[in-house]
């Protein structure tokens, strides 16, 4: 696949000093008068942190909101699984934090591939997020004096992470879910669970609704509105094994892409360094062990490649605390991409531990000796419990075995400063957009971004769209809806009609292998080309051999799965294409050809200091690569160093 053309995208970043951009923009945006808000309908797809917060906030303002989610309840969105915490530039610990420092750390952590203005706004509203969540009754950890506690996360030298044990995502989501359910009770939000969005409906170039499958009855339903918000999460499950929930998928974003929304930086995927290693072929998912564990845990392997001793029998002098050795300034708290690659490097060199040799130790021996088991249990009890459930090993006495796993995707639908995609009226929030994390997301920033988008950005920018664009009345009887419904139905029929001999799961596993081997922690031009070839043939095989039983007129989980896999099989190729076109290493995108003498990622700011956004050109045509140049006015572009 070759690149057809490049054009420059306008992110509509307001002019002026970075500190004043958002303030200025808020003033310049148009408003919808309070009594007019009830005349506008907004669809929010997804009920994670971004979706639930956006739906609740828009309903509070007075808009009529329709909310869809694929789970049986809006409370189950995968934000719930986020463990460690949420960043905010509150500077409560008085350790030198500020909006500027959070902004700087995030831009640097993202390896200088994010849009400065967005990141600054994110840091600016971060404090309000904590205020809002506390007011909702989110039980954040507190000090004995009754004030909020903080801890440290990777890529930062200050303690700015707020947390609720190892269940921060759960508590924040339940807060947003509560607000959402309050609006459901008030009748301002119509909630539709067990619905899967299958298409965006565009009328006269503007997003005016969605088509979704009722997962219980199989009916294809239409929803019309004045604006559509996609808050549908990331695409990590293209790798099959990831820390994502089984239901996470790229379908909503991919169908939007096919309707004209550009897909930005799909090759930026985050491999999280601390996950429970794979134990066998039947494995269906990987479980994350929060980054917060690195506050107290020390990562090591043996100095000897052919180590056979049990971890507790290996004396200090034979242990290689390789993160502390390589990065003395940040030690175990280096950003995720750095920690992941370092683990892979040790394992590839033959120092890996456990039966598979694909793991390193995360050891709490010193922390327990220092603080006592009770303190450690208070901080991480639920994580240790989870680890023990899965591995049947007691991490209080035996070091955890961990290995990197796919966790988060920085890429996503391209959005401008207003979080609006290239389809007017289609807004994209949270992990589903590409906006704030550049090539690598810092720990505890995903929750911050999802809630910033939903609580404090979209409510303004969606209003601006509604107030400034002429939106004639459109109902679900419009031909565009009819066409989308027929498309969706045909697709279902097509999948059911293949009637082959391979299960959906087996094909997905095969796709996962291809993605992990060639587009995983390290990539090469040769491997990526190979991967694209393999994905294409696997896609053909899918449409010839997939076997889905049952009908489309009932709950059919295998049919849902097949539809999602079909999209992954198309998307995977775009991910590889993007990785191939980006001839540099940055953050989570590591190209073997581009590394420093010390095996660190080597950026090419001259040629790749831009966002790559892909435009769909049809089934058989190559997509167009557009660019949005990144200009750094506030932060100086340097080689990232954590030494």
């Amino acid at each position: 696949m070759s690149v057809v053309a490049e054009s420059t995208l306008d992110a509509k970043v307001p002019s002026g000093p970075i500190e004043e951009k958002w303030e200025k923009h808020r003033f310049e945006m148009k408003l919808v008068a309070p009594n007019n808000k009830r005349k506008f309908d907004v669809i929010v797809v997804g009920t994670g942190l971004a979706g639930a917060s956006a739906a609740a906030s828009l309903a509070e303002l007075g808009y009529n909101v329709t909310s869809l989610c694929i789970q049986d309840s809006p409370r189950r969105a995968h934000s719930i699984a986020a463990q460690g915490g949420i960043n905010a530039a509150k500077n409560y610990p008085n350790d030198g934090d500020s909006v500027m420092r959070l902004f700087y750390d995030t831009v640097k952590g993202g390896d200088y591939r994010s849009r400065e203005a967005n990141v600054y706004r994110l840091a600016q509203v971060s404090g309000s997020i904590i205020d809002q969540c506390v007011a909702q009754g989110v039980p954040f950890a507190r000090e004995y004096g009754g004030l909020l506690a903080n801890r440290t996360f990777g890529g930062a030298q200050v303690s700015r992470t707020f947390y609720a044990r190892g269940q921060t995502g759960q508590q924040l989501l339940l807060g947003a879910y509560g607000s959402l359910m309050r609006q459901v009770e008030h009748g301002k939000v119509k909630m539709f669970p067990r619905r899967e969005m299958l298409d965006v409906v565009v009328v006269d170039g503007v997003a005016r609704g969605v088509v979704a499958r009722n997962l219980v009855t199989g009916e294809i339903e239409s929803y019309a509105a004045h604006a559509v918000l996609l808050c549908t999460g990331g695409y990590g499950n293209v790798y099959y094994l990831s820390t994502n929930a089984k239901g996470c998928n790229v379908t909503a974003a991919w169908r939007a892409y096919k309707r004209g929304a550009y897909f930005a930086n799909p090759c930026y995927t985050q491999i999280h360094p601390t996950c429970i290693p794979v134990s066998g072929d039947y494995q269906s998912k990987l479980t994350l062990m929060s980054e917060s564990l690195r506050n107290d845990g020390r990562v090591w392997v043996s100095k000897a490649a052919d180590e056979t001793r049990r971890p507790r029998d290996i004396p200090e002098e034979d242990r290689d605390y390789y993160l502390e050795r390589r990065y003395p300034a940040f030690g175990n708290m280096v950003p995720r991409d750095v920690a992941s690659r370092a683990a892979k490097e040790r394992c590839d060199a033959g120092y890996g531990v456990g039966t598979t040799g694909k793991a390193v130790y995360l050891d709490f021996k010193d922390a327990i000796a220092r603080d006592g088991e009770d303190v450690i249990r208070q901080k991480y009890g639920n994580l240790f419990h989870m680890y023990q459930k899965i591995t049947a090993e007691d991490p209080y006495h035996v070091p955890m075995r961990i290995y990197p796993a796919v966790h988060y995707t920085m890429g996503g639908l391209w959005v401008d400063y207003n979080l609006e995609s290239t389809i007017p009226g289609l807004f994209v929030l949270g992990e589903a957009n590409f906006s704030d994390h550049g090539a690598n997301r810092l720990g505890a920033s995903a929750l911050m971004q999802g809630l910033a988008d939903g609580y404090f950005v979209a409510p303004y920018t969606v209003g601006n769209h509604l107030a400034s664009v002429k939106l004639p009345r459109v109902t679900t009887h419009h031909p565009a809806f009819q066409e989308a419904v027929v498309d969706a139905r045909n697709r279902t029929e097509k999948i059911l009609g293949v009637n082959g001999d391979r299960s959906v799961d087996s094909i997905h596993r095969q796709l996962g292998h291809i993605m992990w081997n060639y587009c995983g922690m390290s990539r090469s031009a040769e491997g990526l080309k190979d991967a694209m070839e393999q994905i294409r043939s696997l896609r053909e095989e899918f449409w010839q051999r997939v076997k889905v039983l049952g009908t489309g007129e009932a709950l059919n989980q295998n049919l849902e799965y097949a539809g999602r896999l079909a999209d992954f099989l198309e998307f995977g190729e775009l991910l590889a294409t993007d990785a191939l076109e980006r001839n540099e290493s940055c953050g989570g995108h590591f190209r073997e050809e581009y590394q420093t003498a010390e095996n660190e990622a080597k950026r090419d700011d001259e040629n790749y200091c831009h966002v790559a956004a892909w435009q769909y050109n049809g089934e058989d045509a190559a997509p167009t690569r557009h660019i949005e140049p990144l200009t750094f006015e506030t932060v100086k572009l340097t080689q990232r160093s954590y030494k």
Binding site: E60, Q71, D72, S73, P74, R75, R76, H78, I80, A81, K90, Y92, G127, S128, D131, V134, A135, Q136, G137, P139, F140, R142, Y144, G145, G146, L147, L148, A164, R165, Q167, Q170, G178, S179, M181, R182, V184, E185, P193, A245, K246, G247, S279, G280, Y282, S284, K285, T287, L288, K389, I390, A392, Y455, F456, S503, D505, K547, L549, A554, L555, N558
Partner: protein, 252 residues
């Protein structure tokens, strides 16, 4: 690692209004390292190969936090382990030759959707009745303006840990949702943020709970034992207390 040969007795029901029945399946070579749901994945692969529709069951995060997985396993909600969801249950807990009976949650308020999938939206409606603080976005004061004693915050967190899976309802002989409601009412009652709506919240949530058709609490503590998030029975006592107070003091 060893392998198990199992007999599975699984509830199959094509749709909500269809007749259901138990079907028995043989499953061989199950690794003890598998999770229970991975074992069901293997069963489904086997069924697909034999042209039988796979067993429908709810699941999502597979790490014990989303609350989507369910299942009555040999008569116990989420299986035999303490503080464990079905997705965290591993096959090492079973023995070679075991017969495992797998049923959906049973409650009038949780109608079966298909096979092992049930509709738990009644729990959402109970939350909608008042399981939140009515605070509009943007109007919050500084997060540290209101200190909360650590022990209260910790207790609130203990209650807030509920994952909404419905195991309490499934395990209770009365299909009572008191632990679920008690957890949310407690969380809010323990925090100063929850105080302004304290009375209305408990009255409305309990009224909704009853309207949804959940049974009453008989204090058997089966809910507490089945709860994967270790929600304590003391939350039900607090709910009773809150309710008592609200009944006596409510202006209506």
């Amino acid at each position: 690692m060893s392998e198990l040969n199992l007999t599975l007795k699984v509830w199959r029901q094509a749709a909500h209004d269809a007749e259901g029945e138990f079907k028995t399946y043989r499953l061989n070579g199950v690794s003890t390292e598998m999770s229970f749901l991975e074992m069901l994945d293997v069963l489904n692969e086997q069924l697909i190969a034999e042209n039988e529709e796979p067993v429908a069951f709810d699941h999502d995060c597979r790490e014990g936090i989303c609350g989507m997985c369910s299942l009555m396993i040999n008569g116990q909600a989420h299986g035999p382990d303490n503080e464990t969801t079905t997705c965290q249950l591993h096959m090492r807990r079973f023995r070679d030759g075991d017969t495992i009976v797998i049923e959906p949650w049973r409650a009038r308020a949780f109608p079966v959707v298909r096979d092992l999938v049930v509709d738990r939206s009644a729990l959402d409606r109970v939350i909608a009745a008042g399981g939140y603080v009515s605070v509009n976005c943007g109007s919050a004061q500084d997060a540290n303006a209101l200190p909360v004693p650590k022990q209260d915050a910790d207790k609130a967190m203990d209650a807030a840990a509920c994952i909404g899976c419905g195991a309490c309802v499934a395990a209770c002989k009365n299909a009572s949702a008191m632990l679920f409601v008690g957890a949310k009412v407690s969380q809010m009652a323990l925090l100063p943020q929850g105080k302004p709506e304290r009375t209305a919240r408990v009255l409305n949530m309990v009224a909704r709970m009853d309207a949804e058709g959940f049974g009453a609490c008989t204090n058997t503590a089966e809910c507490e034992a089945a709860c994967p998030a270790a929600i304590s029975l003391s939350n039900i006592a607090r709910l009773n207390r809150e309710y008592f107070k609200a009944v006596l003091t409510s202006p209506r």
